[in-house]
């Protein structure tokens, strides 16, 4: 964009300076020029600071990896309907209100959008729901959303999801995981469906009513409590401190947190997030423990860190990371 009189715009000059600085240090004359330009007008200094910020916002770009292919990337990452656009939302809510009037009152959810949402392995996705609630899906997760005039219902078909439920008077949000059913008003909680061990529930705020099925008594779970709901038998509950809860929810930032888990357990956890599996044949190695915060989608990086600190032998192939005694 060129300003009046054909002079470059403030943004252009700012971008030029940041590019010059990125090339290397300035000589005395250039430094004096930059200083004079910055001091001449608050907008100059502001545009320059902003240009620096925009450049710095790409500090994470190396994580895209050297094999980053722009064309392929655009195709694979078409913006999806993570956020309903406002015109559509207005239209749909209008429809719901109209339906409510015809039915003679009440808030109708019927016209709100239902659907299925899923994540691929290694992906985290935020799904805002029509009622203002938000569900965040962890790796390899599938949910089905169905809202009717009387029920807000989300089925967790596979995986793990964090629910941030907004209040609707008289209409709790229901989460269904197989035979287990949860009901919540305004609450935040994490649900993980584990095929062999049943359902793990962690409540961060509010409270969640658990209907465990199988003829078992229903139970109310308050904030800062974790509950394991197995296929049969007792429900196990234990308090969860803030630090522990934070670790269990690290996946929302694409991370895995370990606190004394064995390498075997760590390998199992990493297998949820990547097709490249960590393989440890030696039981002596597998029983070593690990603590720290790691990128969930980078098993090789994790293994490299472990190999370095335990002096292990590391072999990386396209679909496996092998750790063994040196």
């Amino acid at each position: 964009m060129v300003g009046r009189n054909g002079k470059p715009s403030i943004d252009e000059v700012a971008a030029d300076w940041v590019a010059r600085l990125d090339r290397g240090s300035l000589n005395a004359e250039q430094s004096a020029d930059l200083e004079a330009w910055l001091a001449a007008d608050a907008r100059h200094f502001g545009a320059y600071a902003r240009a620096r910020a925009v450049f710095a916002s790409f500090d994470r770009a190396p994580a895209l990896g050297p094999q980053f292919d722009p064309a392929q990337f655009l195709q694979a990452n078409e913006p999806r309907d993570e956020v309903l656009d406002s015109s559509r939302r207005r239209f749909v809510v209008g429809g719901a209100l109209a339906a409510g009037l015809v039915l003679g009152g009440g808030v109708g959810f019927a016209a709100w959008r239902d659907g299925r949402y899923s994540t691929a392995i290694g992906e985290v996705r935020r799904v805002p729901l029509a009622d203002g609630s938000v569900v965040t899906l962890n790796t390899a997760t599938r949910i089905k959303v169905a809202f009717s005039s009387a029920v807000r219902r989300v089925e967790l078909l596979q995986g793990e999801a964090m629910f941030d439920v907004s209040r609707r008077a008289g209409i709790p949000l229901q989460v269904v995981i197989g035979a287990v059913s949860l009901l919540a008003g305004e609450a935040k909680f994490n649900v993980r469906s584990e095929r062999s061990r049943g359902v793990n529930l962690l409540v961060s705020s509010g409270r969640v009513d658990v209907y465990p099925g199988g003829g078992r008594q229903d139970v109310r779970v308050p904030a800062d409590v974790e509950m394991q709901i197995g296929g049969v038998g007792d429900l196990q509950r234990q308090p969860v401190g803030p630090a522990q809860a934070e670790r269990k929810l690290a996946w929302r930032d694409g991370m895995i947190a370990f606190q004394g888990e064995t390498l075997a357990q760590a390998a199992t956890e990493f297998a949820r997030y990547s097709r490249q599996h960590i393989v440890i044949d030696d039981p002596g190695v597998a029983s070593r423990t690990v603590t720290g915060l790691f990128s969930a989608t980078n098993p090789a990086g994790f293994a490299r860190a472990v190999a370095t600190s335990y002096d292990l032998h590391l072999k990386i192939t396209s679909d496996a990371v092998l750790l063994s005694a040196a």
Binding site: M1, D11, E12, A14, A15, D16, A19, R20, D22, R23, G24, L38, A39, A42, R43, H44, F45, G46, A47, Y48, A49, R50, A51, R52, A53, V54, F55, A56, S57, F58, D59, R60, A61, P62, A63, L64, G65, P66, F68, P70, A71, F73, L74, N77, P79, R80, E82, V83, D85, R88, E123, V124, R125, R126, V134, T136, D164, R252, D253, G254
Partner: protein, 197 residues
């Protein structure tokens, strides 16, 4: 002398830039004020970049809105021709939004997808240089040697790419809604894409 430390640039990138599109649309809504939105935004960054210490700022989004509002007030008070109503309108201001919760913030993966999408939409030459610089981390000199162009040309591509990205950020590419951004910048002759539902 005026300078911007790397730490401050990073703070601005992480805490302020993601809310800039919201600030701009809020400013557009009060455009009776006869101040250019770009000017207010630049002066807001000047204040935030010039502060001695930002560690005490609990809610950068609210802080940015407050700074922008004060800048408008100052301008209005200095210019005598402005009707009184606009001053009272600005004085009765409310920061329009609360701080986003972790679930409302972009996840790291979404953030990475956004970065990838923005880079992918740069014009080809610019993009090649920008990728070598920011993804592979080569210096401008190393890029010149690798691509076989002069260092001056590399610098020009970096500047042009950055300028385009600054425009994209203004249009909301850093915002929480990733569906906006470069494709809104018609003037640069970039590939238009169909609107997403």
């Amino acid at each position: 002398m005026l300078q911007v430390s790397n730490a401050r640039a990073t703070w601005l990138a992480q805490q302020v830039l993601p809310h800039e599109a919201a600030l701009r649309s809020w400013l557009h809504g009060r455009s009776s004020m006869m101040m250019e939105v770009d000017d207010v935004v630049q002066e807001t960054y000047a204040v935030l970049a010039g502060m001695d210490d930002v560690s005490g700022i609990q809610n950068p989004r609210a802080y940015m809105f407050t700074v922008a509002n004060n800048i408008m007030l100052q301008h209005l008070r200095r210019s005598r021709i402005v009707p009184i109503e606009s001053i009272s309108e600005i004085e009765q201001y409310n920061v329009p939004d609360r701080d986003p919760t972790p679930e409302q913030r972009l996840s790291l993966q979404q953030d990475l997808r956004r970065i990838g999408r923005i880079i992918a939409q740069l014009p080809p030459k610019c993009r090649e240089v920008f990728m070598l610089r920011r993804i592979e981390g080569l210096s401008q000199r190393e890029i010149a040697a690798r691509v076989g162009i002069s260092e001056n040309t590399v610098e020009k591509h970096v500047a042009k790419g950055l300028r385009l990205l600054m425009g994209a950020m203004a249009a909301g590419a850093a915002d929480e809604n990733p569906d906006k951004g470069l494709e809104q910048q018609r003037g640069y002759g970039w590939k238009k894409r169909k609107a997403v539902d």
